[in-house]
Symmetry: C2
Subunit: 127 residues, 2 copies
Amino acid sequence: MEKEWRRSMPLLSMNIVMQLTGLTARQIRYYEEHELVQPARTEGKQRMFSLDDIDILLEIKDMLATGVNIAGVKQIFEMKNSPAAKNDTKQVITDAQLRAIVKEEMQLAQRHQRASLRQGDLSRFFR
Amino acid sequence: MEKEWRRSMPLLSMNIVMQLTGLTARQIRYYEEHELVQPARTEGKQRMFSLDDIDILLEIKDMLATGVNIAGVKQIFEMKNSPAAKNDTKQVITDAQLRAIVKEEMQLAQRHQRASLRQGDLSRFFR
DNA sequence: GTTGACATGTTAGCTAACATGACATATACT
DNA sequence: AGTATATGTCATGTTAGCTAACATGTCAAC
């Protein structure tokens, strides 16, 4: 309970954070620009980082090194912080639709008419 | 219980899947290449997709449209399927380390020696 | 206060690679 | 027989992520 706010206490300057993370100032600002970190500011607008911020920065560094891009990192962070998000591949096709599709498809195949259903994007029918 | 295997039953051909998802064959193969989908195969090596596959493909399409890249999509999928992964920003810096850092930093600042700790990447000490 | 290191926001530009397209050839379906 | 798919290779546009550079602003110490 005491450690908690100690970790979120903004006491590290840009300079130190650069050393701790191995990131350039430009990179760090870039990540902030994309809302991945929100360091506190002094009255004079200078960034002050907490330990939590450092953790986040190191995580970003990790993921980027893995090949994930900023958009991906953001998505993953959101996923971590939202308790929901647990939905396994949401069901976008109902069984009824399936039956219709397959039936339609078979009819078409049988009639050698690859003209109607087969052309055009049907994805709009789903989700 | 019956619907389950119906959804995972591979019965859709490339052609249909293209219509259903609005993706090109090239795209779908590309995603498979990156192990995001694993469609079944006929004896003649032709892909046969299940409804679950379709769901996955639509999800991929969604995320890519959002700006997430393949690596990100993969990461997110893994995160969904692994029960753990729940770790909020794992602690990479201990309080002891913190004290050392800050102390060191203050001493250095005081002595006007911006030469020792301040240069070099310290990120290797963490994680 | 004045000084000198450090931060800031902004702009401009590089580069590497991601995601697709396109084509060719071979094999599989019906 | 004729379309649909497979696989592989080459090519391409776009843009994400970053560096470099600048002019201005901040902070601590003397």
